[in-house]
């Protein structure tokens, strides 16, 4: 069975995780705070609720309504899917290195590795690029769990090694054939966006094969998956992003952060255009982030680490429900 047995009505009041695991959670949080304190990274807190949301069509925000006293009508506020935009506003106002232990929310995400409400450890280091931040992420994780030395592979190397083709140069129409060759049969009808095949092959073929080896950072993604990362004008150009895979689990994700407000606005608009095509909900782009970028975001790299997954690795459990006091089904 994939997921744990559902609790019966009589026991649903009890925690999903054991006390041993809940104590481990607390200990890991304390060690994370000690790690950043020793490096003079400032702990910050930013709001969970925001007027703007994430435009990325693959991330769905939960929302709520706020009625302010004296206001004619209530307004929609979005629950953060990550604290990134608010933390960049702090960086632009001169914070220096900062980190946050943030509760984040993603609609529609639930499974062995997903709970719709979860904890991210997110931090930003001025004057770091994504390689320097990979070094720091590796030190942090090695401080918390028994982690062997991490491999580093570019996205292209990872695909060439584990999937047998060059993801940057392959013709889009061949991606479906590569997926089939790797035993990945995509159900449903019609043609799919090339990125869907790249995501399919990365998550179903490349990541599981990395599992057999050491933990691994994959970096320099296709520019079609740049998200909020800088694009480096190589041949081919790549997005300066990384992801850390441990035991086949995507544990952390980082960017050499995009700081150009014009490029950022263009990406927001492209996201909103894709949302319209997909029939995904419209969401207001974060103008305050764009204002902050216009004032100047220091060159920096940022990383978000899934704390619940880290606890899973530390505790040696297979289901995220086993590390949460109250997983969503009994929340």
């Amino acid at each position: 069975m994939i997921s744990s047995a559902r609790p019966s009505l009589e026991t649903a009041w009890k925690p999903g995780a054991s006390w041993e695991v809940l104590r481990l959670r607390a200990e890991l949080l304390a060690r994370i705070r000690a790690f950043f304190a020793a490096r003079f990274v400032l702990e910050v807190e930013t709001p969970v609720l925001s007027r703007a949301g994430i435009t990325d069509p693959q991330l769905l925000s939960l929302s709520t309504r706020l009625q302010l006293p004296g206001a004619a009508a209530s307004q929609v506020l979005y629950l953060q899917t990550s604290p990134e935009f608010a933390m960049k506003r702090l960086l632009a106002s001169g914070s220096g290195p900062i980190y946050q232990i943030a509760r984040v929310f993603r609609d529609g995400e639930s499974g062995r590795l997903h709970n719709p409400e979860f904890t991210l450890i997110e931090w930003y280091q001025p004057d770091h690029d994504h390689h320097a931040l990979m070094d720091e992420a590796e030190s942090l994780v090695a401080d918390l769990i028994d982690l062997g030395p991490c491999q580093r592979m570019s996205y292209a190397e990872a695909f060439l090694t584990h999937a047998g083709f060059d993801p940057h140069r392959e013709e889009p129409c061949k991606l479906a054939l590569h997926a089939e060759r790797l035993g990945l049969h995509l159900g449903g009808n019609g043609m799919h966006d090339p990125n869907i095949y790249l995501d399919l092959i990365l998550s179903h073929a490349v990541a599981p094969r990395i599992k057999e080896g050491e933990p691994c950072f994959i970096y320099d993604y296709p520019i079609s998956q740049a998200a909020l990362a800088r694009i480096r004008d190589d041949d081919p150009p790549v997005a300066e992003r990384f992801e850390l895979f441990v035991d086949g689990i995507e544990l952390a994700s980082g960017y050499h952060e995009l700081a150009d407000p014009i490029e950022q606005r263009r990406r927001f608009q492209a996201d909103l255009e894709r949302r319209r095509r997909l029939g995904a909900p419209e969401i207001p782009m974060d103008e305050r982030l764009l204002d902050a970028l216009a004032r100047g975001l220091p060159a920096c790299a940022g990383c978000a680490l899934g704390f619940d997954r880290l606890v899973m690795l530390a505790a040696g459990v297979r289901d995220i429900q086993d590390v949460l006091a109250f997983p969503v089904i009994v929340a």
């Binding site: 990325d56 529609g108 990125n195 998550s203 179903h204 998956q225």
Partner: protein, 189 residues
């Protein structure tokens, strides 16, 4: 017919895939942090019993399959078909050798089975989890040998051949787990 989207996928759901009725055996939500969400599904073809793996993009749909399980009593076989009766309505239906598959080697009559119907036609038959059958042929027993853990083949009254402990004798009744085909214990009747 109902259609189900990936959000409604769960273990046991009966759906049509490539023109065959199937049951979802395992459903895992897989999503890269920044990327497309998928449902990785293990799915059993209810005609062939084969389990295959398919991945669906979130939001994809499958048509539901009109598959129901019905508890029915096994009556007899005419050699070509195996006949079953609904003990409440007395309605009868018959299943072919292909439909019966392994189930037939455990049935002698009167057993309560689960007959799976697709659009009203038998698709598969599940015998009771445990059956008690007589041994019709086996090597002579080694009296008192309950310790060595050795086994020997034994033919049962239905024709099935199972492995039994050395001390078991011909004409004895034994209890079999039909899911594994394993000997469980000697039985009184």
């Amino acid at each position: 017919m109902t259609t189900y989207n990936t959000n409604q996928f769960k273990t046991g759901l009966k759906v049509m895939l490539d023109g065959s009725p199937c049951a979802i055996v395992e459903n895992e939500f897989v999503k890269p942090g920044k990327g497309q969400a998928f449902n990785r599904v293990k799915i059993r073809n209810l005609k062939t019993g084969r389990v295959i793996e398919r991945t669906f993009k979130s939001g994809d749909t499958l048509e539901g399959a009109d598959v129901v399980d019905r508890e029915m009593q096994y009556l007899y076989s005419d050699g070509e078909y195996w006949h079953f009766m609904d003990a409440a309505s007395f309605e009868q239906l018959s299943a072919s050798e292909t439909t019966m598959a392994d189930a037939r080697q455990w049935l002698k009559g009167q057993e309560s089975c689960v007959v799976t119907l697709w659009n009203g036609e038998p698709l598969s038959v599940a015998p009771p989890n445990f059956v008690i059958l007589e041994i019709t042929e086996t090597d002579p027993g080694i009296r008192g040998d309950t310790a060595t853990g050795g086994t020997k083949p034994a033919t049962l009254e239905t024709g099935a051949v199972v492995k039994v402990p050395l001390f078991v004798e011909v004409h004895e009744l034994i209890k079999i787990d039909t899911r594994t085909g394993a000997y469980v214990a000697r039985a009184k009747e």
